[in-house]
Each structure stands twice: as C-alpha cells, then as structure tokens.
Amino acid sequence: MQMIKQGKGIALSWYGTGYGNGFPDVSIATVDLSPDGKVILRVGATEVGQGAKTIMPQICAETLGFEPGEVTMICEDTDSFKDSGTAAASRQTYNTGNAVLLASKAFKEAVFVEAAQYMGLNASVGLAMEDGLIWLEMLPEKRMTLVELASKITEEDRVLTVTETFTAQTTTMDPETGMGAPYWPYTFNAYGVEVDVDTDTGRVHVTKAYCVQDVGRAINPELVEGQIDGGFVMGLGYALYEDLGVKDGVIKNNRFAKYIIPTAMDIPEIQKVIVEDPENTAPYGAKGIGEPVMVPVAPAILNAIYDAIGVRILEVPATPEKVLIAIKQAGLIFE
C-alpha cells in the first residue's frame, strides 16, 4: 500500500512588536461626546480584516463602562481622525489600543468634571459611570445621564473632545554590538503539528495542529482565534507550497493557478489555547499577535517531516519534489 510515514514536530517563537529600534512609535486617539450623547472614537487604526474596528471600541467601552456597541468608531477618512501609525508590526492592539485607553480615561475624567458642575458638586471625585449613567457613589440619587450632559454642553455651544497620544518605549541598538532594547513588548508561542508524509510521492499533509499562543490578554478571544487560524494556514502554505519562482527577475508563478496557497481541503483541525499573562504597559494587558501567529508554523512542520522520514528540509517550501528527492538522495527506502 501507499507508504505513509507519520511525524510530529514543535516550534517556539518570539516576536518583538512595534516599529522598534527607537523609532518614534506614536498613536493618537480622540474620544468625542456627540450632541446626542453618543461616544465617538476617532482613531487611525485601519480595519484590514484583523478586527481593529471591533477591539478599539471594546477598549474604549470597557474604560467608560459601556457595551461596545455603544461606541462608534471612525477610521475611514484622514480628515476625521489623527495619525495612529500603520496597521502593521502587530502594533495596533498595543500602541493604538494604549492611545484609546488613555483617551478614554481622560474622556471619563472630563465627563466627570462636567457632570460635577451640572450636578452642583464640589468636585468630580467619587463619581461613577456605567451604561451612560453618571452618579455619585456615596449618594446615588445624585445622577445624570450622558445624554443629558451632552445636551447641556451642546446648548452652551461647546463640544467635549479629548485627544491623547501614546508613544511606545524602545531604544536604538549600538551599530557594532547590537546592544539595546529594540522592541517591546514581545509575544511568545509554542505550536505543534502532526504530519503524514507519502514517501512514494513526497506529499506532506498536516493532519493535526496545536497552537498555544501568548496574548498578554485577549481583548476578544474570537478574534484572537481567527488570527491563529489564519496565521497557521498562511504558515502552512509557506512551509509546503508557496514560492513565486523568480527567475531572472521574472515572477513565474504570478497567477493563482501557479502560486499555490492552501484550500479548505489542505488544513487540519486547529486546536487553539490562549495563554494570558497580562503586560502592565499594555491596554488591559493585551499584546499584539497578528504576526506571531504565523511564525512558528513552518519550522514545526519541517521538524515533523524530519520526525516522519529522517530527512531535513532546509529550504522552504517543502514541495513533494524536494521531499521525494531528499528521500532518494539520502538513500532511504520505506517498505
């Protein structure tokens, strides 16, 4: 019968998020109170599919005691928000998330100061806010809604808007020794796979995937899992299929019929574990994971291939051609 050898492999990885090396890594966020009492979050975190539009309002809502549906995020137009840096470097959750946290906290303070005034209090200390209601904790009948506050501010032709900036901490490295603190924070993970290697054709099939992902804290576990799945499958493609076939500067595989990425038929069940170890400097402890989720996949698969057939594949992708020729060159015979 077909000679299928099975193997397992694991890999760890680490990933320093952010621009790094002392380059100013700045995000700006604005929180406004609309005239009808709604919270508007203006932030330049582009929604590229990663979920920025979902988690930024979550961070803001958490801080203000709202359900996230009550926060409207605007990120579509350079006129309506300030620069929050690029949606890359796994930096939006940490960097822009921090700016959102700072702006939300400052907004809450500003609301309390305004509310104290309208409620005739001596100070804003001791006020609380949840679901759009502001009250004095020691005397709960002293209360007003955010909608009432907004209408009063609007009546006076004023607006309540708060903008805050977060800048991440890294340093440049010494050009000769590399000494320095190039990134912060780092995200870690440990992934494992099981593979079947068809020793007659060199085809590798990943049969199981286990992904243990450090996230600091998951703002939204559904989105974290989605990132893990997507990163795993992109890593699988990188390990087994993907190569642009550049020859003399020409991309030979410049079509989907030739540049092979995984389909639903090529993926295993992906078991996911989220490990939480909150990072103090991060918004609610959350670190970036968009890139880290891809990083350990290919080496785990390559280690599993070795475990299955005793041959090291040192060049990705581990195509059937490379695997089979490596088997033959190693003089291995599987019966």
């Binding site: 077909q2 299929y241 090529d266 059937p320 089979l324």
Partner: protein, 291 residues
C-alpha cells in the same frame, strides 16, 4: 481576441451548421472553464462562439449493456452525482471528482475536457485506458474517433474547425468484470492541476491474472497517452504486491526515458511510481472485494 458574437445553438444540427457557417472564426463554448481563461488572455482561437449549453441531446447519459454514451455537455458534477457511473466506471468517476473545485465541476464538461487538448485533462487517462471513442459531429455527419487517435500533441486534437464532440462512447465488456481506477498527484488537495495522473483498466481471471490491460497517464508528455510499454509488460502477469512493485519501477523507467533532459524528470521518474501503485492497488482491492 475579443468575442464578437455568441450564437446559442438549440440543437446539434444548428450547432454544426453555425460552426460550418462561421468557420474558421467559430468555436464551441460549452462549460467555458478553459475558454473564458483563454479569452481573458486573448488566446482564444475564434471570435465567434457557438454556445452548446442548451442543446438537449448533448446532455444525455445513456447506459447500454455494451456501451456507455456520455453527451459532450455532461458536466463533471453530473458524473459525480450519477451512482450508476460510479459503479460502472469508477476511474472516470474519480477523475471527474478530482477536477478543480465544485464551481469548476459544476460548469466544466467532459467534451470540453477532451476538446481543449490539455495534457493535464483529468478525464483523459481513464477514458484512454477504457478504449473510449469520441463521436464527432459536423454538417458532414457523425464519425467515431478512438481517443488514442484523438490527441495530436499539445493543445492539438483531431477535431477540424467546424467539428465538435457530440458524445463519448465507453465500450463495456460483457464477459469479464472490468476494474478501473484513477490516481492524481496535484500540488494541493483541491484546485489542483494534475502534475501526474494515471488510470488503470484491467480484466482479471479468477486467479488475478491480467487478461486485458489499459494504462494511461496525464501530464507526462504533450498530451495524455496510453502507456503501451507498461501494458504489454503487465498482460499475462498475476496482479499481486510483487507485481505492483515491479510495475511501478517499470513505469519509472519508462518515464525516465520519455522525459530525459527535462528538469522535471528526476522527480517525475520517482513520483509516477507513487501514482501508479495506488491505482493498481485499488483495482486489486476491488477484485478481492468482488470475490
């Protein structure tokens, strides 16, 4: 080139008349899965399309005691959903199921798969192995061409400009049970163009001795071919583990010679063995199951 006109044929006769009338600019459009890619790249042969998707007689699957007739417009999915064909011609059934994706199988037709002359056509190896014939229609009437004489090199077939495939005819042995299998090696599990495919069609006596044998391959040359050297070697032998192993090696040698000098040879020489082995194993298993 761009498409100037599309004529919708309502019958076989109107299709052949349109093809003749507008030859050589006219060409048939059926499932369109290859042709629309060609049109996009401006590599289509003709600027006038004769659309045969609505011709009723080309949609038929007719199973007779001595032959199966499959209309040119029968789509891969029609074969996959046909339980009778799954039992009678499992090699063809597997080949149809292995085509691209559901979307492609829902459009692509058996006639088109053969007519475009691709070396990687999934249906060709099982049909070749089963000694299938294509029935070709034109205003001059109909004629049958054995599939072995149909392919004339890369992208070239025996079809004249004003001819079209009407149906595919698969002879069915009435005496001995025929065992057919199909294996394909693609770069992934779906949306995969075959890098190597092979089909085996044998009749065996009660001791598993090979009485008749058809082996055909895809993507190992300019067009799908019958592997006559391997067939001759197999006939008269008893199909067992040892035979399969040796046959695989033999196939490797054949391919090594055929692809000598090509960069794909060192891999394909080995990998064809991994394709022919399961194809032979499957027929052996079916044989044992039947007994």
């Amino acid at each position: 080139m761009s498409v100037k006109r599309v004529f919708r044929a309502e019958s076989l006769e109107s299709a052949t008349v349109l093809l003749n009338e507008h030859a050589p600019e006219a060409q048939v459009i059926a499932g369109g899965t290859d042709l629309l890619v060609q049109i996009r790249e401006e590599k289509n042969r003709g600027s006038i399309m004769v659309d045969i998707t609505s011709v009723p007689e080309l949609q038929l699957i007719d199973i007779k005691p001595d032959c199966i007739r499959i209309g040119a417009m029968v789509r891969f999915t029609d074969v996959v959903e046909n339980d009778a064909l799954k039992n009678l011609v499992p090699g063809l059934w597997s080949a149809c199921k292995s085509v691209g994706s559901p979307q492609i199988r829902n459009l692509g037709t058996l006639g088109g798969n053969l007519a475009n002359g691709s070396p990687a056509a999934d249906c060709a190896p099982p049909l070749l192995a089963m000694n299938a014939r294509v029935n070709v229609a034109s205003i001059r009437g109909q004629k049958e061409i054995p599939l072995t004489e149909f392919y004339l090199g890369k992208g070239k077939t025996a079809l004249q400009n004003d001819e079209m495939i009407e149906s595919i005819i698969i002879p069915v042995s009435t005496i001995k049970p025929v065992l057919v299998s199909f294996e394909k090696l693609g770069l992934r599990n779906a949306l995969a163009i075959s890098r190597i495919s092979a089909s085996v069609c044998v009749t065996l006596d009660e001791n598993a001795k090979i009485l008749t044998c058809g082996v055909a391959s895809g993507s190992l040359g300019l067009n799908p071919v019958r592997e006559t050297e391997l067939e001759e070697w197999l006939i008269g032998r008893t199909l067992d583990e040892a035979c399969i192993k040796e046959a695989a090696k033999k196939f490797g040698d054949v391919v090594e010679e055929r692809l000598a000098g090509r960069s794909s040879m060192p891999y394909k020489r080995e990998a064809v063995q991994g394709v022919i082995k399961p194809a032979l194993h499957r027929v052996l298993k079916n044989f044992k199951d039947m007994r």
